[in-house]
Amino acid sequence: MSEMTMVEGLNLALTQAMERDDRVVVMGEDVARTGGVFRVTAGLLDRFGEERVVDTPLAEAGIVGAAIGMAVYGLLPVVEIQFDVFVYPGFEQIVVHAARYAWRTRGEVPASIVVRIPYGGGVRAPELHSDSPEALFAHVPGLKVVCPTTPSDARDMMLAAIEDPDPVIFMEPKRIYRAGRQEIAQEPPFELGNGNGIYNEYLSKARVARDGDDFAIITYGATTPLSMEAADRLAEERGIQTRVVDLRSLFPLDVDTIVKTASDCGRVLVVHEAPRMAGIGAEVSSLIHERAMLDLEAPVGRVTGFDAPFPQFANEDDYLPSVDRILNGARKVLDF
């Protein structure tokens, strides 16, 4: 047991996976010698050597494409994209190949890769280091898209993503990389490499981060702590109990938890940082209305990033959903 940040949790997971399974390789720009821009892969090079921890040339299509080829041969590559926006040169390899390799091989040869994407704003980074592209991947059939919110989930989900035979887009909310520490048990939560599908437990289920049945906020990533704060404020302000659901898996969605939450609470707000248009929130909102309309006392609300390019960072706090914006969104739903 020790207190870890999300970065440390991810690093622990990668270390444990590489220890237990030499098919696991880590590759990307500056992941080996520097341990990555965010230090998630720090120490791996010394421990596992430069054949398994690789600084690649600067070419995202090459990185993802080579990882796919490695997976076809039986390795389990974990690829780092240095920052969100820089995944786009590798977009074709992800959506046309990684996403369809299993389908194109009668389900027998999935592209078993993990693509790690530190994403989102709030770190005062220069232009094009703050995008939230998760909906683009969630819209593409054949991929799994997940996003941890706590250090311990980050550890467990990374181990699960590596176990998972399907290609996993692993969204890492860089804003909360070091936001808080959490006790993490050294022991992996499940036996690695037994391929009994238990990893799915850690990838496909939403987490109820706070219980309540007067109102619900459904979110993921860096807006989860903000939603928790908003929930506390609502308790003081209105004496209502707000359930906060951390989706964890963006595709597939945990529809049962989403719909049950809506039925239990009757009033729901969806919160994320990515643009609103055809985002994850649009899908969650539609699913709820389709399946729980009669249990709803108000339309599902959305508090999200705007349908505008992520701003230069002096204004990023204006763009990012704030506790106050979440509260206003909540009040609109509650007072409907």
Partner: protein
């Protein structure tokens, strides 16, 4: 005939034959010819099937059999090969049932139209240009990490060299010294775009130097030259000396695909000038010249191929229209997203569209 190309088979007139290179005995030559004929037979039959509306649009490779059979024959059975749509039936030389490839062109998926690459060491047919080059690199890289003495080979065209993926793959292979053979079939056309508008270099082989790898140029209509260049490249790779770019210089004798009409953009008389070099008859007369094959043998090989493809066609046509569940099969190995069974439910409650047969796509409306 263009000079300064690696070549073994002459034209029977002015250009003399060179001695058969070490590593190919008479049995090999016959077997290679068998492969050539099987590919040719498949290709001609597929074109006929498309005309009859029994398969969809088809990408023919008439004349390029040597770049396929020659290169593959140089590979050991453990080496992996990655075809593009142009080498669509290469798998049949590695145990993929020809009916599966025909079914792919007929629009069938799942177990009908796809195969398991690991079973045959043959990548899936790759449709997006140049995008499987990084896969070939990653595969041989993985083999290197695992200390397995195997190599990979990937086919692509002259047009493919313009894509970023070509560049990134070439560079990765050179940097990590992977045992990758980049086999470029320079048929001088990318649909309607001639190589002169595709690049500013005279040859493709000369691009290799910019990556720090060797580039060789061979007569793409000469199966033995394709074999020799590939064999040497594979040996370099396995010896740890890294990748090689091979340019197989030839000419696209047919249309780009059955939906393409070359008369719109090129003078077919030009193609005629090259036709006499096509590898199947050229290899045949070579084998006759050197006394390795007689007419009987030749007829026997032709008959055998005809029979193989004929039964493949029947096998393809015996396949029932796949059920609707195929839409959701084999996508995720880890489970089924919520919407899959709901989708099937939705389909069960709707009248199924009348069974689909490949149509002769209105000219140009599919490729």
């Amino acid at each position: 005939m263009t000079t300064d190309l690696l070549r073994f088979i002459g034209d029977g007139h002015d250009v003399p034959d060179a001695p058969v290179p070490d590593g190919l005995d008479d049995k090999d030559l016959i077997e290679m010819f068998r492969w050539l004929v099987l590919l040719r037979t498949f290709d001609e039959r597929a074109v006929a099937l498309q005309r009859q509306g029994r398969i969809g649009t088809y990408a023919l490779y008439w004349g390029e059999e040597g770049t396929q059979a020659g290169a593959l024959y140089a590979c050991s059975d453990d080496d992996w090969v990655f075809p593009s749509y142009r080498q669509n039936s290469i798998g049949i030389l590695r145990g993929v049932p020809p009916a599966v490839v025909l079914a792919w062109w007929r629009g069938y998926g799942g177990k009908h139209g796809f195969y398991n690459p690991r079973q045959h060491r043959v990548g899936p047919i790759c449709v997006p240009i140049a995008t499987n080059l990084p896969h070939a690199v990653g595969l041989s890289w993985a083999a290197k990490i695992k200390k397995d003495p195997i190599a990979s080979l990937v086919w692509f065209g002259d047009g493919a060299t313009s894509e970023g993926d070509f560049h990134e793959a070439m560079n990765f292979a050179a940097v990590f010294k992977t045992a990758t053979v980049f086999f470029c079939v320079n048929n001088q056309w990318a649909i309607s775009t001639p190589i002169s508008r595709q690049m500013a270099t005279k040859t493709i082989a000369e691009k290799a130097a910019g990556y720090g790898m060797p580039g060789v140029r061979v007569d793409g209509f000469d199966p033995i030259a394709c074999w020799k260049a590939t064999r040497d490249a594979l040996e370099r790779g396995r010896a740890g000396d890294g990748p090689t770019l091979i340019e197989a210089y030839c000419y696209r004798l047919g249309a780009h695909g059955t939906a393409d009409d070359p008369r719109l953009y090129r003078d077919e008389a030009e193609a005629e000038k090259w036709r006499h070099l096509e590898p199947v008859s050229r290899m045949a007369s070579f084998l006759e010249r050197i006394g390795v094959m007689d007419q009987t043998k030749k007829d026997e090989i032709a008959a055998e191929a005809k029979a193989t493809i004929a039964s493949a066609v029947s096998a393809m046509e015996a396949i029932d229209q796949p059920g609707q569940e195929i839409l959701f099969d084999g996508i995720y190995a880890s489970g089924r997203p919520w919407s899959f069974d709901e989708g099937l439910e939705e389909l069960r409650h709707s009248a199924r569209p009348s069974e689909v047969r490949p149509l002769n796509a209105p000219d140009k409306d599919a490729r």
